[in-house]
């Protein structure tokens, strides 16, 4: 039986924005977590720009898909700790300028990545402002590989 993978990056399943470098009253960063491409977070000037998505518990990330406009360079990092710190690179991608058509970042880490927080950095844009419409994170709740490794002393 094939179970469609769950999008972990939905506000309705407990994901939230821990921080963002731009805050437009009508286009706040939370709109990347509503599963809707029509709504979006708008950057309000300068680069780099970033936002951090926090999950209710640790998840094991298998794939990330981000829909945006005018982004030139994505850098994505993951943090396992309770507080959003000690981020480690998960993947990066230079994007193409698709003009005013949606761009899709697709990252599938070779090894599953455990994360409590994901940091999405936009290092550069193709214009002064960028938009991010939807973040989709496929994965599983908890730490998938936990069975095989001795219980780590993680607090």
């Amino acid at each position: 039986m094939v179970v469609p993978p769950d999008n972990m990056a939905l506000a309705s399943s407990g994901a939230r924005i821990a921080m963002a470098t731009s805050e437009h009253p009508k286009h706040p960063p939370e709109l990347v977590l509503d599963g809707n491409l029509k709504t979006f977070w708008m950057s309000t000037g300068l680069f780099p720009q970033e936002f951090v998505v926090t999950f209710p518990t640790q998840i094991t990330v298998s794939k990330i898909i981000v829909s945006s406009m005018k982004v030139a360079q994505w850098n994505v990092e993951a943090s396992k700790t309770d507080k959003p710190s000690s981020f480690e690179p998960l993947g990066d991608q230079a994007m193409e300028d698709t003009d005013n058509v949606i761009q899709t970042l697709s990252l599938a880490p070779k090894e599953p990545v455990v994360a409590r927080h994901l940091r999405f950095e936009i290092a550069r844009g193709f214009g002064p402002f960028v938009s991010v419409h939807r973040v989709v994170v496929y994965g599983e709740r908890g730490v998938a590989e936990a069975k095989n490794v001795p219980q780590a002393a993680e607090s």
Partner: protein, 193 residues
């Protein structure tokens, strides 16, 4: 409802050494309280932040002003301060013909900054209080600006005259550019499914 919107703009200040870039920025930044009478050469770059409220809106443009060194020895270091700049103000000194002749060189420099393409530049003539020493006329300044599609302003930091105008222009243009991008993106987003 007073939901405030803060936009950010990185503005480069460019031009020959001693034309009065630092004086312009500091006079503007301090609302006229601080005009540096003695010359202190800018080393690499100085950065300051100044919020500008856009009239009749809830919008504030935070200007990140990069006051760049004009001296030749710093030329090679300038590009790294220019990344992701959204606007620029080109400065010359009306008592210094060489600083006016150097403008094409500075425009050439600006052309190499990818992020600046599209935005309209600003040309500022300084030290107009020194009328008796003036060697570049208003007409010459205006003509150059027109030829290169720059907005033209004249000011004196020493007498605190008209130093705000170029910055207000940049802030307003930045707000308009933002609204235009927002409209384009909103339209494209509405057509998605």
């Amino acid at each position: 409802m007073s939901t405030k919107l803060i936009l950010r703009n990185k503005c480069l200040i460019l031009g020959n050494a001693t034309v009065g870039k630092t004086a312009l920025v500091q006079t503007f930044h301090s609302d006229g309280a601080q005009f540096p009478k003695t010359y202190g050469m800018t080393i690499h770059a100085d950065v300051c932040v100044k919020p500008i409220n856009i009239p009749d809106t809830n919008v504030t443009v935070e200007m990140f002003i990069f006051d760049l060194a004009g001296h030749d020895v710093f030329q090679e270091y300038l590009p790294k301060y220019c990344r992701s700049a959204s606007s620029y103000i080109l400065v010359f000194d009306v008592t210094n013909a060489d600083s006016f002749k150097a403008l094409p060189k500075w425009l050439q420099f600006v052309k190499q900054i990818k992020d600046l393409r599209g935005g309209r530049g600003v040309l500022v003539a300084t030290k107009i209080d020194q009328a008796f020493r003036r060697s570049v006329t208003t007409q010459q300044g205006e003509e150059f600006a027109k030829q290169h599609n720059l907005m033209y302003f004249e000011c004196s930091s020493a007498t605190n005259s008209d130093v705000e105008a170029p910055f207000y222009f940049v802030a307003n243009a930045s707000h308009e550019l933002f609204e235009e991008h927002l409209r384009i993106i909103s339209k494209a987003a509405a057509e998605m499914h």
